[in-house]
Symmetry: C2
């Protein structure tokens, strides 16, 4: 049987009659939200049930594979659209392929509070990175609806397309991609432009999706931590101070190939040794200063890469991140200085190329306060922390007040089939999102 | 036109009438060799002419490619057989595919002095590694023949097959390969067994080629240095003290893959960092002790080898060499200790596997004296030195007194299209070989 395309799926879902609001418990008893000192709770079991069902989609021997613009991504998006419809929320696909659903507010003059995340995955990834935040946003809207509570602001649930391929859906909404960017090939093998069409968008109408400063009241995203800070600290909630800036260097070290047996140690131009010294020096420099900055040499290829030949050339990458752009600039200079020193000591040359450069995106202090007070009201242990990973929230932060909520990843593991967040933590995160939205609505 | 196989080439050459010894200048005036204080000279121009002509065979854009058991190797061997025939020496192929030619001595009871090298090359190599020693041996025998000089010992010129693939021809002659070894695939894609047939040998009759202690009076091989010691020291001749022992380690370092942004520096199990620390530590340990020991990390592959993921696993190789087996054992222990310390410090594990283990092969002091006195008599500047590279001489050293002569490599470069030894140095090396043979004959 032919697998239905996402567009066919979406059309079929759109053709269904909207769930009758009166079908929901308390749906007609519109109530005012309570104060955060008396917090509300989502239906955590329902949320975790959705996550469990979603864990079958794109599941392979290697892990979850819902890479954007593949059949499993389409299936994941269709599942998500169904959840939105079941929540009684009318859905809308924008021209970028992002999925939206709105719970109207009482004050038509107000801009929306936006909550959401994504449902695509990396290759051989897990089931929590993205789906938790997306489904929790749906659950929050559904809880409000079921309880008959009306916010002053409209509440928009958004599920961004292709987050893992470079926060594409959110970048399109802030107008950050050029026409040339659309021709870049994504992991699926399709270009972004092709992908937009495949997920139901229209690349010719992207101007229609662009939002500007003032269009969004605030944006709040729940996500798994993808690191081990919360677990190690025994905390349940991370109140995210911002998303770190990131700079990627590709560094080519050139020495000279020679015989590993016949070339005395003092006559070598060993690119592998230079690369090793540099890798250690980068690590030592990063750790020698206080702060949460991180740097990683994750990729290295040597040439000719032969046991008995001194390496002529090594290419390695450095991934540098911090919440403070000044620190990124500082360490860039440190790395360049280390390269010069090591190059001279090893008789090799270092050439730096910047692959990616993304500035830190700080959380808005008022949104951060809403999240903090929500966690406090729920009696959850929390701590402030940066997000070391990138998220759609970093894009929306360019045009709107942004905040993020983290919940613990067991073992700090993410982008792995071992990625796991306990059901209680998933429910806690959704509860914090719910009460933060209510607090933001009243702020 | 179909390229003739080496076997066809060899058959055609064998069918030619042997060059009449009387055709050579002075051929009938058999003379006694003069003493080394009044040294002889080869025809250096002729030798360098052969090298220049040979430089066209297997030449590609990447360098010389006469990899054993390929068409270019067959062509190189046919060229070499022609030189032996032109020298008036009857040739013989042994069952291993080695080419031999004998200049009879005056004393039929004596075992032969053997001189020679190889004519196969590495991939993208140069024209001097092997051919110089092979052609110089032919030139030495031809010079003796043309001058009508008869040694007491027979003089055997040998051109070993497949040196670069692991000194195969010489290993077969000392009986060092098992039947299983013959099924190993060489760089050409053929097995050793297939290769033996292709170069005119007979894998079923290998027992016939095995020589034992006492069968060879001594073995002397001229070779380019393949390092920069002689050039740096301003010396013309290297008197080789022996061929270093070699131990190859394949070391697998296991950490844990995690997010490069979200994992704090103190919570990492970074296999790349551990590999870098180990590479630096190996280098520092080797240099911290006096001596000529060398160690090289030439090959490294990381997994998943992704810019934003902490490396889960790194495989690297260490090539360790010294003339003293005790030092090889000592540094093996040093490396294992360093691995334990670094493994503990980085929360990674190191696993060692030995790929190759070859003991040092020391030159015979009497042969070494013959080479030294020859260089002295010729007025050439010389120095004692180890060979860091492997040679067929290391195999023959297991059954016979061995010595090697080195001449400078410009820039210390070898196994490269840039490999170059000046014509005057090629002639010097052949002169030293000639007078060393005469000295050895009289010893």
């Amino acid at each position: 049987m032919r697998r239905r395309s996402f567009v066919e799926h979406a059309a079929a879902i759109a053709a269904l009659p909207l769930v009758d609001p009166t079908g929901f418990q308390n749906a007609m008893r519109w109530a005012s939200p309570r104060s955060p000192v008396d917090p509300l709770h989502v239906n955590g079991d329902r949320l975790n049930g959705w996550l469990a069902a979603f864990n079958q989609i794109g599941r392979t021997a290697g892990g979850i594979n819902r890479v954007a613009y593949t059949a499993a991504d389409f299936e994941g998006r269709a599942f998500t659209l169904d959840l939105l419809r079941q929540a009684g929320l009318p859905t809308r696909l924008d021209a970028a392929g992002n999925m939206w659903a709105r719970l109207d507010g009482t004050d038509a003059s107000r801009t929306p509070i936006v909550i959401g995340s994504h449902v695509d995955s990396v290759t051989d990834g897990g089931n929590y990175d993205g789906p938790l935040g997306s489904f929790a946003a749906i659950e929050v809207a559904r809880t409000l609806r079921e309880r008959g509570m009306r916010l002053r602001h409209p509440l928009d649930v958004v599920v961004w397309q292709n987050e893992e391929g470079g926060t594409i859906g959110s970048k399109l909404v802030i107008g950050a991609l050029t026409d040339a960017d659309l021709d870049r090939v994504a992991r699926s093998g399709k270009t972004i432009r092709e992908g937009i069409g495949l997920v139901g968008g229209d690349a010719a109408k992207l101007a229609s999706v662009v939002q500007r400063r003032g269009d969004i009241a605030c944006y709040i995203e729940l996500h798994i931590e993808q690191g081990g800070l919360l677990e190690k600290a025994g905390k349940q909630i991370g109140v995210v101070q911002g998303i770190v800036g990131l700079r990627w260097f590709e560094i080519t070290i050139t020495g000279f190939a020679n015989h590993a047996g016949a070339t005395p140690m003092d006559q070598r131009q060993d690119a592998m040794l230079a690369a090793a010294k540099f890798t250690v020096a980068v690590h030592d420099a990063i750790r020698s200063e206080a702060g949460r900055q991180v740097a990683t040499v994750g990729r290295l290829t040597a040439s000719p890469n032969t046991t008995n030949v001194i390496a002529a050339q090594v290419m390695l990458t450095v991934d540098l991140r911090d919440l403070d752009q000044a620190k990124i600039e500082h360490f860039t200079q440190v790395f360049e200085r280390l390269a010069r020193t090591i190059g001279e000591a090893t008789n090799t040359t270092f050439q730096f190329k910047r692959l990616v450069d993304s500035e830190p995106a700080l959380a808005d202090s008022r949104v951060l306060d809403c999240i903090q007070s929500s966690a406090n009201a729920l009696g959850l242990l929390s701590q402030r922390m940066p997000s070391g990973a990138g998220h759609d929230a970093q894009e929306i932060a360019r045009i709107a007040p942004m905040g993020m909520i983290f919940v613990p990843s067991v073992g700090g593991i993410s982008h792995s089939p071992k990625e796991f967040t306990r059901p209680a933590d998933c429910a806690n995160g959704a509860d914090v999102l719910l009460n933060a939205v209510i607090a933001a609505d009243q702020a």
